[in-house]
Amino acid sequence: MADDDEAPPSVEEQEAAEALRRALDQAAASDEDARAAQLIAAAAGRAPRLGDVGARAIVRRAAEEARRRERERDAGDPPRARRWWVLGGAGIFAAAAIVLGLMFVQPEPPRRWRSRSAGMLVPGPFPKSQTAAERLDAVTTDRMVALRDARLYGARR
């Protein structure tokens, strides 16, 4: 008996079609038969409605893929534009730090204004005729001049 496409479906065909429909709705993506059926149906212009499980699987896979790409991007070198921003920011920060430092650093005062050893003011060995009072005269006078100069000229710097 030749196949007759125009003949109404038999009971067995209807049961098989019903089984196929259920398979399309419920089958997992790994089910090769269901996938083949989906392809046949799609080729005939009768693509089945996507089931909830299938839709969730697609969404889950898409989300996982997006997360994987994000992880790869974070783990690798930053994009060039982002790297320039980081370097530029660090450079500006360092320059600002140096400018601030220079603003607050006072110039080093001359040595003659600073507290220091008597040195050559009273060169040793001390002569027998020289008293401690005379040595202090020399040191005190020198430091008085230093204090006056520091007050007078230091204020203008």
Binding site: A90, G124, V139, A150
Partner: protein, 177 residues
């Protein structure tokens, strides 16, 4: 980002610490001047008392120098104190063994106050040599061995003084442009 932030923090720290590293000592201030003036006045009083042969008065004056509150870590203060200890030792030096012991005790108390080489530190060692030389002279008629030992110690003290003076002079010559 972490590396860049670290570099910036290091640059900031370097700028902040630079002045502290460079500055050697403080600028002369009124407090230092006041303490030096006071020490100077006490030493002149000692001179005046000695002109009248008042050794006790001179000792009391020099003792006052050691009570002055010099600014902490000021080289001038340290040197004024070393000079006071040396003068106190010379004033205590007399004809007896007790005088020598007291004079040497002054030197011993002054020595630890020297934190750096200076002509004043050398002077303190010279005074120690003078005291020991005087002890040798005192002992010579009665105790030849004791006198010899005292003179040997005196020579060692003078040698220390000479060494310190040489180091200070060499350092000062290096500083001179």
């Amino acid at each position: 980002m972490t590396r860049a932030a670290l570099c910036a923090a290091l640059a900031l720290a370097a700028v902040a610490l630079a002045p502290g590293c460079r500055r050697e000592s403080k600028v002369v201030d009124e407090r230092l001047l006041v303490s030096l003036e006071e020490a100077r006045a006490w030493q002149h009083r000692a001179d005046t008392h000695l002109a009248d042969h008042d050794v006790a008065g001179a000792l009391a004056d020099v003792d006052q120098v050691l009570k002055i509150d010099f600014p902490k870590n000021s080289p001038e203060g340290e040197e004024a104190r070393l000079d006071a200890w040396a003068r106190l030792a010379k004033l205590h030096l007399g004809p007896t063994a007790a005088d020598e012991t007291r004079a040497l005790a002054d030197v011993e108390r002054g020595r630890p106050e020297a934190t750096r080489d200076s002509f004043y530190r050398a002077h303190l060692e010279t005074v120690a040599g003078e005291i020991l030389e005087a002890r040798g002279n005192r002992l010579a008629p009665t105790d030849a061995d004791g006198a010899k030992a005292a003179r040997r110690d005196a020579l060692a003290a003078y040698a220390r003084s000479i060494e310190i003076d040489r180091r200070v002079q060499a350092a000062l010559l290096k500083e001179t442009p």
